[in-house]
């Protein structure tokens, strides 16, 4: 390890692979009910410190596990995720279970329906353990904006797990779930996966239904999986992807067998490396780890070449105008009228709206709603929102030009490894700037995978981001698999 002062309590434990667990369950050596019970025991031990789970859905989980055991006992064929314990980020709804989106404004809310991605997991046999903590309304890069306390990084519990899907990433890294679902609007799956040393997938916009995802920014939000390895992440994506009539932005494109695709060798794939992602602000130890990953790809038979993405530096301002504008519209529905806590003693309707929202929303959410409202308001719409959408097109076209020459683009997922709790909370803009490597892909709608790629000298995980063209997740998985196989130290 290193000489850095790292807390000696480590909560890290990697789950078994889907293949191994499936074999155990199919042969009856492992009972799904016992597996689930084991996960709940581990959660009871580790969650008080990590705060990854906000609530547990034991009844539903154990009923599902019992169903799986009955199927296995009869020798019936098992669905692809039979008995596999999975955690769900609290921005995705599970019928009858609390959904807070990490906010006080939804305290007590129990949705009357399942998100499509959740329903698909359950139909595939998954055992849904509970709801995972996140930044409020998915706004944040550290999970410190949760109204229910931060999540701690299992690798070093004095550090953040990243955000906004901090609970989802931490749960896999601490084996509090075999896999989890999160959401990614500006990096909220990729960055925490990178910080916690697990695999995270950014599906193409529209690849996975957003029905049942509590909306943050509707043209950016994606639902995606976390897992301990690339093949399992690919398997999960295959289960949740697909057209959904309930989501008008859902893609009708057929879903490939992602798991089979990621077994194909990466040799012959062309890899692009953009200089703009290796400039100032990148931690030298992160750079060193990523360079090892790139060397491994060359050794695996990939052709590596530079690509130019000159507008990269404009991505953050574009993102923070578009995302906040869309958020200001999406969060208008939280007003105390139909669900959630309602402020008491308001004399008028307008007063009730104001007080309920004032009491229910945290500071970061208010900041973003104000910024977004300003950018959309009369007199400013053209200068801010429209301008941002124009630059968005330039950013997207830049990627498409690059993908005409390469199959995948690799970059660091984040400019640093996990920072300490409280380190960046004083300066919102500094927190935003940490998203620099993830937001452009969000704006362009393209897909990507983050895969563990070595550590810093202090042992903190580093992630490599592999980006691919729209609907080309298979290529991203193949490249990620090659990096994973190289076992970068």
């Amino acid at each position: 390890m290193g000489t850095d002062t790292k807390t000696t309590d480590t909560f890290v434990e990697m789950p078994k692979t889907l293949a191994e667990l499936r074999e155990g369950i199919a042969t009856g050596r492992t009972k799904a009910t016992e597996l689930a019970a084991g996960y709940y025991e581990r959660i009871e031990k580790k969650n008080p410190r990590l705060n990854a789970y906000l609530c547990l859905t034991k009844e539903r989980a154990l009923e599902q596990a019992a169903r799986v055991d009955a199927l296995a006992a009869k020798g019936d064929p098992l669905p692809p995720l039979a008995g596999i314990p999975v955690g769900i980020k609290d921005v995705l709804v599970m019928k009858g279970a609390p959904a807070t989106a990490g906010s006080k404004i939804l305290q007590g809310y129990r949705p009357p329906y399942d998100a499509t991605a959740v329903a698909k997991l359950e139909a595939a046999g998954a055992v849904l353990l509970g709801k995972l903590n996140c930044d409020e309304f998915a706004m944040g890069s550290s999970t410190e904006n949760s109204a229910y306390g931060p999540v701690r990084n299992p690798v070093d519990t004095e550090r953040v797990p990243g955000g906004s899907s901090g609970g989802s990433a931490a749960a896999v890294a601490a084996n509090l779930a075999v896999a989890t679902l999160g959401s990614d609007t500006g990096g909220s799956i990729r960055q925490p996966a990178s910080f916690c040393g697990v695999v995270g997938v950014l599906p193409t916009y529209g690849r996975v239904s957003r029905y049942g995802l509590i909306a943050f920014a509707s043209s950016l939000d994606r639902v995606g999986p976390f897992a301990s390895n690339v093949r399992d992440a690919a398997t999960l994506l295959g289960v949740i992807a697909g057209h959904d009539a309930q989501d008008a932005t859902s893609s009708p494109a057929p879903v490939p067998d992602y798991a089979a695709e990621c077994d194909k060798p990466a040799a012959g794939l062309r890899i692009g490396v953009p200089a703009e992602y290796f400039a100032e602000g990148l931690d030298p130890e992160v750079r060193a780890a990523i360079e090892k990953g790139i060397a491994a790809l060359k050794a695996a038979g990939c052709a590596v070449k530079p690509v130019a993405l000159p507008h990269t530096r404009y991505a953050i301002p574009v993102y923070y105008l578009i995302a906040t504008a869309e958020a200001s519209a999406n969060l208008a529905r939280f007003d105390g009228v139909r669900y959630g806590p309602r402020s008491k003693d308001s004399a008028t309707l307008a007063g009730m709206y104001r007080h309920s929202r004032e009491e229910g929303f945290g500071a970061e959410v208010k900041r973003r709603i104000l910024l977004g409202t300003y950018a959309l308001s009369a007199g400013y719409y053209d200068a801010y929102y429209l301008k941002a959408q124009q630059v968005r097109r330039l950013l997207a076209e830049e990627y498409l030009r690059a993908f005409a020459e390469v199959d995948a683009i690799v970059t660091p997922t984040a400019p640093t490894a996990a920072f300490k709790l409280g380190e960046k909370t004083g300066d919102p803009l500094a927190m935003y700037l940490a998203d620099i490597y993830t937001v452009t892909a969000s704006l362009a709608g393209i897909c990507g995978v983050t895969v563990p790629c070595g550590t810093t000298k202090a042992g903190l995980p580093v992630g490599m981001q592999v980006l691919a063209r729209h609907l080309n997740e298979a290529k991203a998985f193949r490249v990620a698999r090659a990096v994973e196989s190289a076992r970068i130290e």
Binding site: P112, P252, I316, P317, G340, L429, L443
Partner: protein, 107 residues
């Protein structure tokens, strides 16, 4: 044309925007919010460096995907929605059919 991005939001403008967003900032919250907003608006103003004349705004990335169904509309057919009783169970105040709220107009 029109207004280019400028920073320097005033207290009055923050209050106006808060009103539009049905948010109420406490007096002690306002200075920090003003400072943060101005810092962010200052930062986003760098987009002014770019010439975007003639560039079509990109609002829906689906249009960049081959075979996308973006813009296709479904048939206008009424379908069952959520169960009313289940929805009303979540309401802070209800008569079972409607959501009850404080009066809209002050007499």
């Amino acid at each position: 044309m029109g207004i280019a991005m400028t920073a320097r939001v005033t207290v009055e403008e923050v209050e106006r925007v808060a009103e539009l967003a049905h948010l109420e900032l406490k007096p002690e919250e306002t200075p920090a919010m003003l400072r943060d907003l101005n810092a962010i608006l200052d930062y986003v103003a760098q987009l002014n460096e770019l010439d975007t004349k003639g560039v079509t705004p990109l609002a829906q990335v689906s249009e960049l995907q081959e075979g996308s169904a973006a813009g296709e509309l479904r048939a206008d057919r009424p379908l069952p929605s959520l169960d009313r009783a289940a929805v009303m169970q979540q309401a802070p105040e209800t008569d079972g059919v409607f959501f009850k709220v404080p009066k809209v107009i002050e007499r």
